[in-house]
Symmetry: C2
Amino acid sequence: MALVESNKDNCKEKFMALRDAIDVLGGKWKIYILQNLSFGTMRFKDLQERVCGITPKVLSKELRELEENLLITRTVNDTKPITVSYTLTSYAMETKVVIAALMDFGLIHRKKIKEK
Amino acid sequence: MALVESNKDNCKEKFMALRDAIDVLGGKWKIYILQNLSFGTMRFKDLQERVCGITPKVLSKELRELEENLLITRTVNDTKPITVSYTLTSYAMETKVVIAALMDFGLIHRKKIKEK
DNA sequence: CTGTATCCACCTTGATACTG
DNA sequence: CAGTATCAAGGTGGATACAG
């Protein structure tokens, strides 16, 4: 049984879709950032503390990419000093299934490997 | 609404699960290899041709990792010359949901970005 | 506070050639 | 055929310092 149907017509499109998804969500930090933002709006500093160990340079880059992919919005608050908030877009809900599926598999897999 | 429930007791466990899943399935090639093997048993050379562009060194490494994670089995065939077959394990079915979810998101996302 | 700049170590991948 | 060895190159992320 195939993981996906072997349909010649849309096979290439599906491969591209996989590549897209992995590009958008993959890497070391993206899903953790989304995860944290799923609990509510957060500032740069908050994220830096919660996404344990990430440096400002990398966090900055990751946030920019998530914003380009329409998954988060960046808001500059007119406070003193200026603060910046990051929030999930409603579109980010589309990632919910993926993240849940990854988490489920991760939980199953840890058990599986332990009994090896 | 949170992508996952905010349950302090299992939050760390879930983060670890995400990390695990990304480690096992992430990277540039793993999912494509699984995808190809989902159509049936394949030899090293076949995979190299189908997973377009992968070099033997990298393919070899990826296959070893997938085997360690119990997702594929490696079989040496007593032919002349010797051939080697790779097959999905039944456990690999557990990745089906993840791959499907990634593909769905990828398809949605491509549309979303185009209309940007 | 919210980043950016610089420098650097590492890892991953690739090209190519080669072995059993 | 099924890989491994070697070397080179690029990207990625980290440490640290600094700027607006």
